[in-house]
Structures are given as structure tokens and as C-alpha cells.
Amino acid sequence: MLRKITAAKLDQLFEAISGKQTLYIPTDREDGAAEFRKYESGMKLSNALNTVRSAKDFFFPQTENLVAFKMEGKKIEVKDIRKECEDFVIFGVRACDARSFDILDKVYLVDPVDSFYKNRRDHGTVVTMACTRPAETCFCTAFGINPTMPGGDVTAFPVGDGFFFMANTEKGEKFLADIDDLLEDGDLSRLADVQENTRNILKKLPLANLSTDSFGGDKLNELFNSDKWAGLSESCIGCGTCTFVCPTCQCYDIKDFNTGDGIVRFRCWDSCMYSDFTQMAHGNPRVSQLERFRQRFMHKLVYIPANNNGEFGCVGCGRCLQKCPISMNIVKVMKALEVK
């Protein structure tokens, strides 16, 4: 059974949730872009399709401290600085970002489990938001994502005057139970209309027919050795924009910082586009931007499917299409490498 909240009560809802745990919602910034922010009274839910940074930050933050060391003479003391994460809610995650959590899970929750990631995952409740107004840069459907049924612990479906909620997990049911007094029963037929409408728009999207047929774990060598990479990568400037806005990019670096009082070992996002990503004391297996560029797309379109039963490492959110400084992106790569 679906429960509904009217748009007028949304503020009340946010107040209720944020009263108990930290709530993050996408909200509009002064520059017009949207970002997830910790909810404070008066904050408005953004109408934007997506945030600049993806929701992966909540489970895999850009930097996080792993462990601390105290050094004295020849002695080292290891300090476990992990703390149990507090419960939090991310409200308004789109289908693409929601899928990205599955992809991250396959990296971080497989043995040996990454306790830092798992800690956040265990304590986070994901409330997804069904899409109604996809952009031309959207191509999640190419990866089998249904933006009208985005998953997560709870799904919110926008319908004209409010939102329907559907619990998908136990955590989601608890979430809804906690706010039940704000909810009312909804008219289900409205939802079907909205979903149908979205489905019709999705069909009209310019990237609706993007095909993944030419990709997958079994295409490894032919794709790796394709002669298209040189042309595709020639204008890549080697920044990390695509990787940092990408909801599924999960590579990290581990570094030590000397605070003057001891060493803090932290990890931070890294980008396979960077020239020092694979730099070793002696030599570098990927010296050219071509190799680095290829790695990123091979990873998403070949290596991840090879290790995950064919599931791709891209969710079609379109962020890299919007943010690449030189407008090179996975769609252009896929179209160039496509076997027609």
C-alpha cells in the first residue's frame, strides 16, 4: 500500500526526520546548481534533476581518516579512530545514483568488507525520488535502470500535489512508520499516470537508443586494442572531473598526513585519469593519457561487467556529459567503439 504526503506538509516531514537523525536533501545553490546539504529549517527541496556531486559522497566521502599512528623512537602505536556512524537519511536520490550504491557495494562489501563504507551504509537510509523530467544527457535506461522505480530503502514518487512513498526494505518500512502520522492514503491511479508519462518522455530522449551490446567482459581484448582510443583521448586534459562527479567511480588513494602530533592515514578519491595514479618508484604501466583514458572506460564497460555478471559500471546519470571541460564522455566513447 502506498502512503502519500502533500506538498504542503513536506517541510513538516523534513523537520520530523531531521529531528531524529541527520537529513540530507538536494537543494538549490545561489549559482543555480543543486547539491545535497544537511537539512536546516526553511531549506527547500530542489527541483533539479540531479546534483553536481553524486550521492556516493555519503558512503564514500572524498576524504576520510582511516587510522592514526603515534611514533616515538622506534615505537609505533596504531590508533583505531573509527567511530560508529550516526543514523542519517538521504532524501531525493535519483535512480542512477541509487544504482551506483549497488555498484559500490560490489566493491566495498565483498570480502574483505570495507568497514568504513559498511558503517555508513548500515546507518544510512536512502529515500529515492522517481524521475519525471529527465534531461537530454540521461541514459540510465541503457543500463537497465528504471527511473520511474528507483529503488533504495524508500521510493518517493512525485505526483502533482505531493509524493507517494513506497518502502522497499525493512529499513524503509521503519522510516515510513516513524513518519506515518504525516502521511495519508493516496490515489494510486495518479501514480501510474505519472509513470506512464515519464516512460513516454524517456523514449523521446536523444540517448534513448544507446546500446551496450558492443560492451561487456567478453569484449575485453578487442575493445582494449581498438584503434579508436587515440582519437578519443587526444583532447583529454587529464583532470579528474569525470571521475569525481561520477557516482560509480570508486578508486582511492591512501596517504599519510603528519599533523605534528602524529600521523593520520587517510584515503581520498583518486582518479585513473591522473598521471601519477599508477606511478611506482620505478616506472609507470600507464604513461600516456591514452592508456589512462582507456582504463576509465574499459573499467566501466568491460572490467566491471567481467567481474559482476555483466553489470556495467555506468549508471547513465549524465554528469560527465555535463561537466567534462572538453565535452568528452562515455556516450561519445560508446558510440565511437560501437560495432554497428
Binding site: T63, E136, K204, L207, I237, C239, G240, T241, F244, K255
Partner: protein
């Protein structure tokens, strides 16, 4: 314009003057063009584009391109010619290996400005008498051309090409721009206000390094931020200090060398007005040491590499400004 460029490029390829052409390649949509090197007439005909969205500065690519053999044709907008000159001056580009065709500049548009109006599902954009007709899957939208101009073109410093082998179209003049207005506005704020402003801006930084990698002045063989021995190597701003430091050092390293091409702000995925930091240095240099435009020529000494006996003291910073 685009046709004239293609025509001329084909001629220069055909007569052997150049063996490559640096330009922009058509994208998936009407606005996402990519800098590209063309080597044949066919490629030029099929993919070469020059329109309201070809705002990327091509000059930095020539650092890499001129290491190769042969000569390359580069289409440079007026602002790009300054970057080009600066790179020639710093021995980063071999001038002999580039055939420069100056093309008229912007204003170029920024798709983000259109998106910020809530326009989405964009299929096609047409400029009709400086009104943009934007065809989307949700219907046709309109907006004034000038509201979609990219940050880097909002206050153009010059329509003049400072270097070229030939021109397509007319050469323009150095403009009396209002480019320091925002810097001045910030200068007039209180220290706390400025601090708050920059904290809210710089805390958005995701350290993607796009501003640095795109910057034509940032061509170091190895950036200090990537050099473990530099003492300031960092990959992600782990602390607000590092956010500040990265942007201070980035701007300081290009102080007196930055031509104000605006690429840093154009590419910033978080829309941080990074050009303001560069402009602050330019403004200070102009007012304290005399007007200086990096890239204007290849001979003037950079302001940080020279001095006058009667330069002002650093205490001028303490003496002026609000509060």
C-alpha cells in the same frame, strides 16, 4: 565563418603548409564540442565546427602538439592568442611549428547558463537575432542570448589578436572592460564578508584539478601538487586549509603570467569563480606596478620577475581597503 575556416584549413593542408589542424569537433548535442586535431579534408568536412559553443582555448594543446614533428594550424580567438603568446614567451610552444589563424572571438555561450534557467531536455539551440530558441523534449524555450554568455566572455578584455599568421574576419581592439568590477566589490567588503564568500565558494571545490589542467599557464612538467617532494602535495582537499592553499598557490603560480582567458572558471564543475583570484592579482599588479597584460607580447618582463627601487611596501595591503 565555419565554412571559411574549413575552406582555408583544407587549402593549407593541401599545399603542405601544415599537416594537422587544431580545431573543434562536433559533439553529441548542439553544444558539446570537443577540441580535436584534424588531418584530412574529409574529417574537416564531417566534423569541424565553430559556433557559439566553441569556447575552449586551444592554445595549451599546442604545447603537446609542437613537440611533434610537422606544423599545425591553430584557430585562435583573440583571448587565445594571449595565452599562445605567453606560452611562446615561456618557451613552451615552438612558434615555428604553428600556423596561427586568428578568428573572431565570442561571446561564447555556456550551456550551464541555459540549464540554470531550468531548461532541460535540450535538443537544439538556435540564435535568432540574439534570442536563443531552444528546442527541448518539453517544448521550445526562449532566452536572451546575452544571458547565456559564459563567465569567461562576460567581460571581454580584448577583441584584438596579438599574434597571428593570418586572420579570418576583422581584427578588433583592446577593450576597456569592466572585468575588475567583481574584484572591487569584494575588496570593498569587510574581511569577514570576504572570508565567508570564499569559504562558501571554495568549500564546493572537489579538487578535480580541471582549473589547473585546463589553464594555459599551468604547464609545469610536474605540478607541485603532484610532487611528493614539494611538501604541499595533495590530491584531495582533506581540510579547508588545503582548499584555500590549492587555490592560493595555483593563482600565485600564474600571477603575472595569467592572461585572464577565463578557462578556469569555464571548466569548474562547481562554478567557483576562480578567475576572480587571478583577476585580483592582475588588478594588484596593474595598480601597484603599472598596467601589464600577460601574453600581450613575448618580450616584456613578467611583473614578478622584475622590480623597481621605489615599489610600494607590502604594508600597502594593511593600509588600504575597508575597515
Amino acid at each position: 565563418m565555419q565554412e571559411a575556416m574549413i575552406k582555408r584549413a583544407k587549402e593549407l593542408l593541401a599545399d603542405g603548409t601544415v599537416d594537422r589542424v587544431m580545431g573543434w569537433k562536433k559533439g553529441e548535442f548542439s553544444y558539446d564540442h570537443t577540441p580535436a586535431v584534424f588531418t584530412s579534408a574529409q574529417e574537416l568536412d564531417e566534423n569541424f565546427v565553430c559556433d557559439d559553443f566553441t569556447s575552449a582555448n586551444l592554445s595549451k594543446y599546442l604545447v603537446k602538439e609542437t613537440v611533434r614533428d610537422g606544423k599545425i594550424l591553430a584557430f585562435l580567438k583573440p583571448c587565445d592568442t594571449y595565452s599562445f603568446n605567453q606560452l611562446v614567451k615561456e618557451y613552451r610552444i615552438d612558434r615555428e611549428k604553428v600556423y596561427v589563424i586568428g578568428i573572431p572571438g565570442g561571446p561564447k555561450l555556456d550551456i550551464e547558463k541555459i540549464r540554470a534557467k531550468g531548461i532541460t531536455g535540450i535538443l537544439n539551440i538556435r540564435n535568432e537575432n540574439y534570442t536563443l530558441k531552444i528546442e527541448t523534449i518539453y517544448g521550445v524555450s526562449e532566452m536572451p542570448f546575452y544571458e547565456a554568455i559564459g563567465v569567461k566572455c562576460e567581460s571581454c578584455k580584448s577583441k584584438k589578436h596579438v599574434v597571428y599568421d593570418e586572420l579570418i574576419g576583422e581584427d578588433g581592439e583592446v577593450l576597456d572592460s569592466n572585468r575588475f568590477d567583481m574584484v572591487e566589490k569584494l575588496e570593498n567588503m569587510t574581511s569577514q564578508e570576504r572570508y565567508d564568500f570564499w569559504r562558501s565558494e571554495l568549500s564546493k571545490c572537489i579538487r578535480c584539478n580541471a582549473c589547473r589542467t585546463v589553464c594555459p599557464a599551468c604547464t609545469c612538467e610536474k605540478c607541485v601538487f603532484e610532487n611528493p617532494d614539494s611538501g604541499i602535495e595533495n590530491k584531495a582537499a582533506a581540510d579547508s586549509f588545503e582548499e584555500n592553499m590549492f587555490h592560493i598557490i595555483r593563482a600565485f603560480h600564474v600571477a603575472g603570467r595569467c592572461t585572464d582567458c577565463g578557462e578556469c572558471s569555464r571548466v569548474c564543475p562547481e562554478n567557483i569563480p576562480l578567475h576572480l583570484l587571478n583577476r585580483k592579482f592582475i588588478k594588484d599588479i596593474n595598480s601597484l606596478y603599472g598596467t601589464y597584460q600577460a601574453g600581450e607580447n613575448t618580450t616584456d618582463k613578467a611583473p614578478l620577475n622584475e622590480y623597481k627601487m621605489d615599489d610600494c611596501e607590502a604594508s600597502i595591503v594593511h593600509e588600504r581597503g575597508a575597515e
